[in-house]
Amino acid sequence: MKPFRFDRAGDISGAVATLAREPAGEFLAGGTNLVDLMKLGVMEPDVLVDVRRLTSGEIEDLPDGGLRIGAAVTNSELAADRRVRSRYPVLSQALLAGASGQLRNLATTGGNLLQRTRCVYFYDTTTPCNKREPGTGCSALEGCNKDHAILGASPHCVATQPSDMAVAMTALDAVVVVRGPGGERRIPAAELHRLPGDEPQRDTTLEHAELIIAVELPPLAFSSNSRYRKVRERASYAFALVSVAAALQVRDGAVHDVRIALGGVAHKPWRARKAEDALRGRPAAEESFRAAAEAELAAAVPLRENSYKVPLAGNIITRTLLDLTGAP
């Protein structure tokens, strides 16, 4: 591991100011991903600014009925919160579907959003990777790509975003609150992560030294009727092949409103707006769910080893929505 300086700021503005002066620095929270990447030489920051104790560790009720989650709230705490479990079960389920108990005890809300892709080439510094070393090429494009993107990829990068939590937050229209050198701004969860384009080294739309300080969940009338379905190659402790976060509101047998986001298919949590639009007003039945999924997935461009993700995504969108109608 490359030697680095460890800095513990007194408050949020101090941490932001410190990092703003350190172009090769990083914030450190739970460290469950960053420290691994440093051991492997994938990330080699000069300075780590510890923010673990600076942001809030509380989950607060908002006046409008939503919740504000401090960035330092651990994944375990967030998953176990009664309000989250009753009002936003999709979020609790997504958290519990990720990592292991030990990791969830350490990982934070802010850090989880910023975990980096699990592409095997990104993790192996002896192979080309545009995300790790811009301009070297994408090894996964013609290599081991069974876990890679089917939507929104570019010739420069076919990696996927690995956070389950981010997928649920995207479906819930969460808002990410960040503080940077220029002050505070609010970013819709769906716009936090970005598609790779020709800058795959940038996972998110955050600028350098911008720190996530909270995530706000807006109230949603039907968010209690939500669920997270994650498909993986073993029963626990694996990243998603494909996952779906969905919430459904049915009136008189028809879809009144719906939220759908997919994980494991793109460089960002994939909000399935085409499917949502196709569903509103349609019968809440398998046929329309299937048609909506197909509308969303029509744009899918599978790679050599991941064409299975297209039917898999279609199947779990359909099945999860059916489950949310209470169908057997």
Binding site: G143, K146, V231, Y308, L312
Partner: protein, 693 residues
């Protein structure tokens, strides 16, 4: 025939004698021995798969504070014997596989060594490499023999004629991927060189084997080499001897007087400490209307390394499993620019029986027979390969008892006939086998310590299987004393020689020596020995070896549930019944079988090392990418033994259970997945992607 001793301790389900130390963290593993001012070793691995090192620039690494040395072919101590190219570490410029050690850093901290290793600049003259195994390669060759000394090919009767004239036949190809052992404890060494003596604290399956090879390779007297290995966190065939141990010893020689600590990272476990070759296996079976096999062939294509041959024996179990008039088995190898494959838990049997037992399931269906009945119908009288009778063969008893325990009777044979909610449910069965292996050369020493206590010493090794306990039980019965009166000392080459822990041979080889030493001890010293009385004896070869074929057998049953929407497979229930001679300790044996069957499940559903042929190395080289089962993947195991008294195998009547647990499990699961879904996956592992239609 061997006389069996009266058994008081053998057969008792004793808890591990080393359990309290293990769970309190006080059982020392090799890397945990404490030394003042040790140096830490970190290797630099080749970033090309074939070529020559043209330049090593250690300047940036060497300039780091705390770096003591940067070793490479330019300055490493010379080895005396480089005939084994896998072990010829840092002796030449040649690169033979990606990940080969081309340099190494010694530093005062692990962190410094690791960082410095990343700063060593290595230039290569890269040459085209070839790492792709395919069955249609033009350069496949027949090795002289296959592991360990089995004939490469066999032929009985006239396979071609029998197969071509048959009406019911199968001709299918089964493939298994490259797999890596990954014991929980990686390969670790502390090496210390001083005044011509080399001491290694080593995580190994064979202290004496390491001693002999190190002495030969380094050109020193074996008596000046000491290997200490009291506790080992798993080996599975990977901890015999590889380049990592040679590198640690070389480094110790380079920095005389300083202990050198070397532990592989998980990523490093995927290059250079062995793996299971991928296999391509064509199986052809034909049967008469009565469900008797008339012809069987098993043709295997595997890989080995250009620098050293290892020939996996995947078709060997087919030579003994079932009666057939006409049989052919072959093995062919491709020599590639890859690390050397090696023994991996049930080498040969694990991949070979996946293919054979999948094919037997398919053939039973073609014959319209229940797969248990089909196997029983093809039970042989004699071992086909040797023509010898079996010392004991209770496969049929295993199948019947397993079927009874698992509730097999009344099974609807139609695939995809049972659905519970979104789960497709099916059941499958497969047979298991593993040979009885006894290595000659183990010696046990027994001395009387007074007060009724006996010290029993040999350089056996417990790689996590329960050897500390089982050998104590054997010694107790051999001496007709209580287990509490046995002071067992193993894992150190200052003790008498013992053969390696491999081939499920440990208890057979070592226990036989202990019995022999106890006999000599009592002959010489009687039942009331003087304090300090001592005797030593070696295990002779088995005089019955030429008279009988000796194998353990088993039957594995599995229930598979497959999600109709996603192809996710869950295995809520498995049953394994084994006929493996006398079970020395049913408690630790059950744990070993659980581990074996779990591994079979892992092989069926999870494990696959993904090589990117452009680069030549394994890409999913960590536990995020290389999957083994999590606890949530494991359901109920029902494990039972057939009460088998085999007087021909050894004085304990035991057959070895280290590997047989894995052997039938993968096929039982594949067969259950077929029964659940109607989809026959002949290419492991069975992932959701392969089940989505």
């Amino acid at each position: 025939m061997t006389t069996l001793a009266e058994r008081r301790a053998i057969g008792e389900p004793l808890s591990r004698r080393d359990g309290p130390q293990k769970v309190t963290g006080t059982a020392p593993f090799a890397y945990e021995y404490r030394f003042d001012n040790p140096l830490y070793l970190f290797p630099v691995q080749s970033e090309v798969a074939r070529g020559r090192v043209t330049r090593i620039d250690p300047s940036a690494a060497g300039a780091l504070p705390g770096v003591v040395a940067v070793l490479s072919h330019e300055n490493a101590p010379r080895l005396a014997d480089t005939s084994d190219q896998e072990l010829a570490v840092l002796q030449a410029r040649d690169v033979s596989f990606r990940g080969q050690y081309v340099a190494a850093v010694l530093a005062e901290t692990l962190e410094t060594a690791r960082y410095a290793a990343s700063l060593v600049r290595v230039s290569y003259d890269e040459m085209p490499h070839d790492v792709e195994l395919r069955a249609d390669r033009g350069d496949l060759y027949a090795p002289e023999h296959v592991n360990p000394v089995n004939p490469t090919d066999t032929e009985e009767g006239d396979f071609d004629r029998a197969f071509s004239s048959a009406t019911v036949k199968l001709d299918e190809t089964y493939t298994t991927p490259m797999e890596h052992h990954n014991p929980m404890e990686p390969h670790t060494t502390i090496a210390l060189w001083g005044a011509g003596d080399l001491t290694l604290y080593e995580s190994t399956q064979g202290p004496y084997a390491v001693r002999e090879t190190l002495a030969r390779v380094l050109g020193i007297d074996p008596d000046r080499v000491r290997i200490i290995a009291p506790y080992v966190g798993g080996g599975f065939g990977s901890k015999t001897l590889h380049a990592n141990t040679i590198l640690a010893a070389l480094a110790a020689v380079a920095v005389e007087g300083s202990p050198v600590k070397f532990a592989l990272t998980r990523q490093q476990m995927f290059s250079g400490v062995g793996y299971r070759t991928p296999t391509v296996q064509r199986i052809r079976l034909s049967a008469g209307q009565d469900g008797h096999l008339t012809a069987t062939s098993h043709d295997v294509v595997e890989q080995t390394a250009k620098i050293k041959e290892f020939a996996e024996n995947a078709a060997v179990p087919t030579r003994t499993m079932y009666a057939t008039q006409n049989r052919r088995t072959t093995h062919r190898l491709a020599a590639l620019d890859v690390p050397v494959p090696t023994w991996m838990r049930a080498p040969g049997e694990a991949p070979g029986m996946f293919a054979l037992e999948s094919a037997m399931d398919e053939m039973a269906i073609k014959c319209g027979l229940d797969p248990v009945e089909f196997r029983i119908r093809n039970e042989p009288e004699l071992d086909a390969e040797t023509g010898l009778p079996y010392s004991s063969r209770n496969l049929v008893a295993c199948l019947l008892e397993g079927a009874r325990r698992f509730g097999w009777a009344g099974r609807d044979p139609r695939p995809r006939a049972r659905q519970e909610g979104r789960w497709l449910v099916g059941t499958g069965v497969a047979s298991s086998t593993f040979p009885v292996v006894r290595f000659p050369g183990s010696v046990a020493r027994i001395s009387y310590a007074g007060g009724g206590r006996y010290v029993v010493e040999m350089a056996a090794v417990d790689i996590g299987t329960g050897t500390w306990t089982a050998l104590s039980q054997i010694a107790a019965d051999a001496l007709a004393v209580d287990v509490a009166d046995i002071d067992l000392r193993i894992g150190d080459t200052t003790q008498p020689e013992a053969t390696i822990e491999g081939g499920s041979s440990g208890i057979t080889s070592w226990g036989t020596a202990i019995f022999e030493a106890a006999r000599v001890f009592r002959d010489r010293h009687g039942d009331r020995p003087a304090e300090g009385a001592r005797a030593e004896a070696a295990a002779a070869g088995n005089p019955e070896a030429g008279n009988y074929a000796m194998h353990a057998f088993g039957a594995c049953f599995a229930q598979a549930r497959v999600d109709a929407d996603t192809g996710e497979v869950r295995i809520p229930q498995m049953a394994g019944v084994f006929a493996a001679g006398k079970i020395i300790n049913p408690k630790t044996a059950r744990s070993q079988i659980i581990g074996g069957m779990t591994w079979g499940l892992s092989m069926a559903l999870h494990e696959e090392s993904l090589v990117d042929a452009r680069f030549g190395h394994v890409m999913n080289h960590d536990f995020a990418g290389y999957h083994v089962p999590a606890n949530a993947d494991i359901g109920q195991f029902d494990i039972a033994w057939i009460d088998e008294e085999d007087h021909h195998v050894n004085p304990m009547g035991s057959k070895g259970i280290g590997e047989i647990g894995i052997v039938g499990s993968s096929a039982a699961i594949a067969n259950a997945v077929f029964h659940a879904t109607g989809i026959r996956v002949r290419d492991l592992p069975i992932t959701p992607a392969k089940l989505l239609r």
